[in-house]
């Protein structure tokens, strides 16, 4: 299955950048979760857990690299179906933590199926549009693609985990865009979304959700409540300055002024401890990973590969951009993790598996 000569076509630079980001993530988690006491302190348990996840993620990456993506795509219906089953199972039997029913306990681990939804949906959509001669030019196909995305999206939103659910949207938009979705149609959808968004805000959103958006727009109106995270995120980032406070010397994350920073706000901690220079470095790495992945899509042998990479990397790019924006207190707080860096095993494993597929497509660009 894994031919020797394929080795030479593995994108080591991309793989290296991805692993570097993951390791930086572990280091930031170590720094943020360090338990400070007057006597000195000790590391938290999270960095070790993340390292285990990194190991498992590498195995997942290798598996996704080894199996020909076309073979995988042929079975995409099973993958997709399996995902839907898991999501339904989670809704019925899943473990509830932090206000959402998201986890399936497997031994010592807790699997979060929603994190794998992006890959499954990307695979499914790439297969659907890639094997379809007409591409996404046909509104009918677009609607079917939309439904394929919406089913898992709604299942995840029901958990409720709006943040993760939302990340399926860019996957769909990315694949559809590459598959030739007319820009005019995109514009129409965007314009149609405006009044929808307005009425949604007015009638569909719950009070606390409206509250969140309002506090984002004016965090000072409730500095100790809902606006707290937004303000503290800005303080965390801004206080880092040019060179940062130094590894393990961040005060905002370590002293928990920024709540659960190792999770959604890991980038804020990086900005605080490594400063603007560190931010540029990390942003540069992410940009490299994304641009390099899009390059892989360009090089892909077939539309399937192109769309697959496009779908995965669109979701990835959206997550990175949204999370980093939120980390600086410039976007409403949503449960959208920073892929590769945020604490969370399922997220890391899924991200690495995704890059396994991207490397897969690039590696097999010359094969038949």
């Amino acid at each position: 299955m894994f031919e020797r000569r394929l080795y030479f076509h593995v994108d080591w630079l991309l793989l290296g950048a991805v692993l570097l980001l993951s390791v930086v993530g572990v280091a930031m988690i170590y720094s943020t979760t360090y338990v400070a006491t007057p006597a000195g302190g000790h590391p938290g348990t999270q960095p070790m857990t993340q390292l285990y996840a990194l190991g498992i993620g590498l195995v997942a990456l290798l598996v996704c690299l080894a199996v020909d993506y076309r073979m995988l795509a042929e079975h995409s219906l099973f993958v997709y179906g399996g995902l839907l089953l898991l999501l339904v199972f989670v809704l019925l039997k899943g473990q509830t933590q932090m206000g959402g029913q998201r986890w399936i306990p497997i031994g010592p681990f807790h699997l979060q199926p929603s994190e794998f939804a992006r890959i499954a949906v990307a695979l499914m959509l790439a297969m659907y549009f890639g094997e379809n001669r007409r591409g996404a030019k046909n509104p009918g196909d677009l609607i079917i693609g939309g439904i394929l995305t919406l089913v898992p999206l709604l299942l995840i939103a029901k958990q409720p985990d709006l943040g993760t659910a939302i990340t399926l949207m860019p996957v769909f938009v990315g694949v559809a865009f590459l598959a030739g979705l007319r820009l005019r149609l995109l514009a129409i959808i965007a314009i149609a979304c405006l009044p929808l968004g307005f009425f949604g805000y007015k009638f569909a959103l719950k009070d606390y959700q409206r509250q969140r958006i309002q506090t984002f727009l004016d965090p000072e109106q409730d500095p100790r409540g809902a606006g707290y995270q937004t303000i503290q995120a800005r303080v965390t980032v801004g206080s880092g300055g040019l060179t940062g406070k130094g590894f393990r010397h961040g005060t905002q994350g370590q002293y928990k002024f920024l709540p659960v920073a190792h999770n959604d706000f890991i980038f804020s901690v990086l900005a605080e401890e490594q400063g603007f220079i560190g931010v540029l470095g990390a942003l540069g790495l992410y940009l490299f990973v994304i641009v390099r992945s899009i390059e892989a899509a360009r090089l892909a042998k077939d539309r399937l590969g192109s769309y697959l990479v496009g779908g995965i990397i669109s979701g990835f790019a959206f997550q990175v951009i949204y999370n980093v924006t939120m980390s600086a207190g410039l976007a409403p707080v949503k449960g959208i993790t920073l892929p590769l860096m945020s604490y969370g095993g399922s997220s890391l494993i899924a991200s690495l598996a995704g890059f396994g597929l991207i490397l897969n497509v690039r590696m097999r660009r010359f094969t038949n």
Partner: protein, 641 residues
């Protein structure tokens, strides 16, 4: 190219992938700009905010300066007490926390709420003390429920400890939180809101010296306010110690005497040579320790509403008729104005008539004193003699000499809120009553009744001035002060005035006063063998006899018993102690002399290096409780012994 992609498709895909790349790169560029704005352009602002997040300056209250007695004995010191305070910014739901705190400590929730609302304008990071001087049980209860009480902290603060429950309470005064109006005043410049300052007595008068400089600790705290580490510590500087002129033993003797007597009143004992206050008391007193760590409202309310007014410093603020103790002033005026000489004799038949109105002598029932000269008139406290002399002098000359002796003017003691008594004059009456003085009014004034009123401290000055030959010393309580380089003597303040008194004339008065104690006079109870105690008793009506009848018919609980005075100095030659004992409703002046005896005996025992006399029992004082209500009979004006 591969079979899967037709060239047209490939071109469109390449373009769209490029669009994607540029979109992402654009977004990243915007993000970089965003971070630049926060991290570089606005860095200073956020750096400060982060620092405020995690750094706390906690005040370390400075202990106040220690108060020593004249022999270096520590009178007032400091002790650590535990306060329970709230830091509001660490508390999301203040209401819940107060409820839990109330349940844990037993302090009514309304009271906590009240305390908090009084300080609501303080910055939210500053701890607000909710429970002062918390008991150990309260402390344990709070610590056990720490998790339910975010923002509740306990702090150890120094607080005042006063010697015994009420010793010299009015002289020491008490401390309390600085008030809003005080903060506006120049003398409290630099004092932080919430600081403890002197609110009465020496604590107030010498607040500046006694107050130390608060220190502070800068600590790093985490988001729930738990301390992580200490960054900086400025230790507090204790206030400067002050050495008082007070003699602890004499003070105790004074308090003991009052306690044994059961009477209220006041006593001020001076060194007549320089005005140093050796003992100072006002009864009833309060416990200044109750104020030390913040007084609770119930206790304070009870003190305020007590009909006996324990917070009033009777020695400085009580104004009473001096009665017969006023007679030396009249006598000296007569001598100095040349109206009489020491041999001037008056025949006392028990009463005399002036301006068509009879005035009784207190000895009327005994048939009067017969022929009395100045010395015997003072000894026997003959009213008729002084009616006569006063009448010869007229009010203005009495006023002049009483004032020179320290009556009817402020003593200018270095304690706050002294009130001034009154020795009337024709000008005073014209100014205040728009009426001319009637010569008939002088008669009552001559025996210290009528319009005259004096404060106990001014009576002590009066005694000292008679003792030292006419120097109206300024009573003061500071002997030495420490400016950081050890105790240095503080020079006594200059006398208020000095009279050019003819020694022989003053001597006649002093002979009379010696006779009061040693010559079978009214103050015999103050006699101490070999010490030549001089003194004068006074029994002063608080109300005229007719009015007393009427008022008591209305309210049986009102106390109209006469006030008792004893002014004294000793020894007769080179006096080293002078003072006054005032018994409010003490019935007889001689009762006051009984108390003075214990004070004088203690003074001389200490001076002679002998064992101090034990505290007197009630029986030792031989108090006379016979209410001489019937005295004077038939509603005649008159004075007691």
């Amino acid at each position: 190219m591969t079979t899967n992609l037709i060239p047209d498709d490939r071109r469109s895909l390449t373009i769209r992938l490029s669009v994607l790349q540029y979109l992402v790169a654009g977004a990243f560029a915007l993000l970089a700009v965003g971070f630049w704005v926060f991290q570089i352009a606005q860095h200073e602002k956020f750096r400060e905010m982060a620092e405020n997040n995690q750094q706390r300056r906690l005040p370390l209250p400075a202990p106040r300066g220690v108060l020593l007695d004249r022999n270096g004995k520590v009178l007032v010191e400091n002790q650590a007490t535990r306060n329970i305070a709230i830091v509001r910014e660490q508390t999301k739901n203040v209401g819940d926390v107060l409820r839990t705190l109330s349940a844990a400590t037993g302090v009514p929730e309304a009271q906590l709420r009240d305390t908090l609302s009084r300080r609501r304008r303080d910055p939210s990071y500053r701890p607000i003390v909710l429970i002062e001087n918390a008991s150990f049980e309260q402390y344990v209860a709070v610590m056990a429920r720490r998790l339910e009480l975010p923002g509740i902290i306990s702090e150890d603060v120094p607080s005042r400890r006063y010697p015994s429950s009420d010793m010299a309470a009015h002289l020491f005064g008490y401390v309390g939180e600085v008030t809003e109006p005080q903060l506006q005043r120049a003398e409290y410049e630099g004092v932080e809101p919430g600081s403890i300052v002197g609110q009465s007595g020496a604590e107030q008068a010498y607040n500046k010296q006694l107050m130390g400089v608060d220190g502070n600790r800068t600590v790093v705290v985490n988001s729930v306010g738990r301390e992580i580490k200490e960054l900086d510590k400025q230790p507090p500087t204790i206030g400067h110690p002050l050495q008082l002129t007070l003699d602890a033993d004499l003070q105790k003797a004074t308090e003991d005497a009052f306690t044994a007597s059961g009477f209220n009143g006041a006593s001020v004992v001076l060194d007549p040579r320089n005005g140093e206050v050796l003992a100072f008391t006002s009864r009833p007193a309060y416990d200044p320790n109750a104020f030390a760590a913040g007084i609770d409202r119930t206790t304070y309310g009870a003190l305020l509403n007590d009909p006996l007014k324990p917070l009033t410093n009777r020695a400085l603020q009580g104004r009473f008729s001096p009665g017969s103790t006023f007679k030396m002033a009249v006598g000296l005026a007569g001598l100095e104005e040349g109206v009489i000489n020491p041999n001037f004799t008056v025949h006392c038949s028990g009463s005399a008539t002036f301006y068509g109105r009879p005035f009784a002598c207190w000895a009327k029932s005994k048939g009067g004193h017969g022929a009395v000269n100045l010395k015997t008139a003072i000894e026997q406290s003959c009213d008729v003699y002084f009616y006569t002399v006063g009448n010869m002098l007229g009010i203005d000359r009495i006023n002049k000499w009483a004032t020179l002796l320290g009556l009817g003017v402020k003593s200018n003691i270095d304690l706050p809120n002294e009130l001034v008594g009154l020795v009337p004059s024709s000008q005073w009456k014209l100014e205040t009553r728009k009426e001319k003085w009637y010569a008939g009014e002088t008669i009552s004034v001559s025996i210290g009744q009528g319009q005259v009123s004096v404060t106990p401290v001014s009576m002590a000055v009066y005694a000292a001035t008679l003792a030292n030959g006419g120097v109206r010393v300024t009573p003061h309580i500071i002997k030495a002060a420490d400016d950081g380089t050890g105790l240095k003597p503080v020079p006594a303040p200059a006398p208020q005035s000095t009279i050019e008194v003819t020694p022989e004339k003053l001597e006649a008065i002093r002979q009379g006063m010696w006779g009061v104690v040693n010559g079978g006079g009214t103050g015999g109870r103050a006699r101490i063998e070999g010490k030549d105690v001089c003194g004068k008793t006074g029994t002063a009506q608080v109300i005229s006899n007719q009015n007393r009848l009427l008022a008591q018919a209305r309210n049986k609980n009102l106390d109209f018993r006469d006030n008792g005075w004893f002014v004294f100095f000793a020894p007769r030659d080179n006096p080293r102690i002078a003072g006054v004992v005032f018994l409010e409703h003490g019935i007889h002046g001689p009762n006051a002399a009984s108390l003075a005896k214990h004070i004088l005996a203690t003074f001389f025992a200490k001076e002679d290096g002998k064992p101090l006399p034990p505290p007197p029992t009630h029986e030792d004082l031989h108090l006379d409780y016979k209410d001489p209500y019937a005295r004077g009979g038939s509603g005649l004006a008159g004075g007691g012994r």
